[in-house]
């Protein structure tokens, strides 16, 4: 069955995420970060930041929620149960610190089929409360056996 490409270009509803100090710590600890900038407010302030600094891969926390509805969007038509993550790119701008509010827009950039698998590529663009770019992402999801 060929993949449905009609939804290419579809933009999903923007999501705004309020970055909390304990969420940064929780994430940093889950991935094994030991840099005090992520864990210790005083260390972060001494280094010139307003609060604890998010590790770069914290971008998953604020941008995934903008992509997630796309995985269940009927027009896009992903078979979620057979989806695996094929590839990922992130580019980072300004650092994110606790207290920031990050708005992310996700768009379906491409849908292709290769050797019986469907490839769905989403792009996310995340900016902080000052309008500064903090992260862009390219998310390649593979649906096995479309």
């Amino acid at each position: 069955m060929p993949v449905n490409t009609d939804a290419i270009g579809k933009t999903l509803a923007p999501k705004t995420y309020a970055v909390g100090r304990e969420k940064i710590r929780e994430f940093a600890e889950a991935v094994g970060e030991t840099d005090p900038l992520h864990l210790d407010v005083e260390a972060a302030r001494a280094a010139g930041y307003a609060d604890v600094v998010a590790p770069p891969m914290f971008c998953v926390v604020y941008s995934l929620q903008a992509v997630w509805p796309g995985l269940f969007d009927e027009e896009i038509g992903i078979d979620f149960a057979h989806m695996v993550h094929g590839g990922q790119e992130f580019r980072w701008g300004e650092l994110v610190v606790a207290g920031d509010e990050i708005t992310t827009v996700a768009k379906l950039n491409d849908v292709t089929e290769k050797r019986g698998n469907g490839f769905y590529v989403f792009e996310t663009t995340s900016t902080n409360q000052r309008g500064e770019p903090v992260c862009t992402g390219l998310w390649t999801n593979i649906v096995r056996g479309v």
């Binding site: 094994g32 992520h38 590790p55 770069p56 993550h85």
Partner: protein, 132 residues
């Protein structure tokens, strides 16, 4: 700094994600795909069992780069392909090498993440701005 010319190696990262790591990462990241947290579901959809989140494995590659680059501000770009499925309770090893130092000071690295003799991330490329 160690990362000054092509061929220089990153110190790398080694760790063994414990049995419940995928549950903690699901909670921390918001990615609750049951293939990572539900053994039975994972088997039903044809996987060997619960698998690590690719983005968790990518976070280990990111950490190898930021630890070598001087902190979170050093990492400007990272791109990975997930080429195998990682599993809990088996050691992960991230290794990397500088491939290029550009005129503007950007250091490019190539990294991989291995587990049990297989590379589950290979040819990951990062761009770093080394921090003092």
């Amino acid at each position: 700094m160690r990362l000054v010319q092509p061929g220089d190696e990153l110190p790398g990262v080694q760790l063994t994600p414990d049995r419940y790591l995928t549950v903690r990462y699901a909670g921390a990241s918001g990615d609750f795909n049951p293939i990572h947290i539900d053994e039975e579901f994972a088997r039903q959809v044809g996987l060997p069992g619960r698998i690590l989140h690719g983005l968790y494995t990518m976070a280990q590659v990111a950490r190898a780069n930021t630890e070598a680059g001087g902190g979170p501000a050093s990492l400007k770009r990272l791109t990975v392909q997930f080429r195998g499925m990682g599993v809990p309770e088996v050691e992960l090893t991230v290794t990397g090498t500088v491939t290029e130092v550009r005129d503007d000071g950007t250091v490019v690295t190539e990294c991989s993440c291995g587990q049990d003799g297989k590379r589950i991330i290979r040819a990951a490329e990062a761009e770093l701005r080394l921090q003092p």
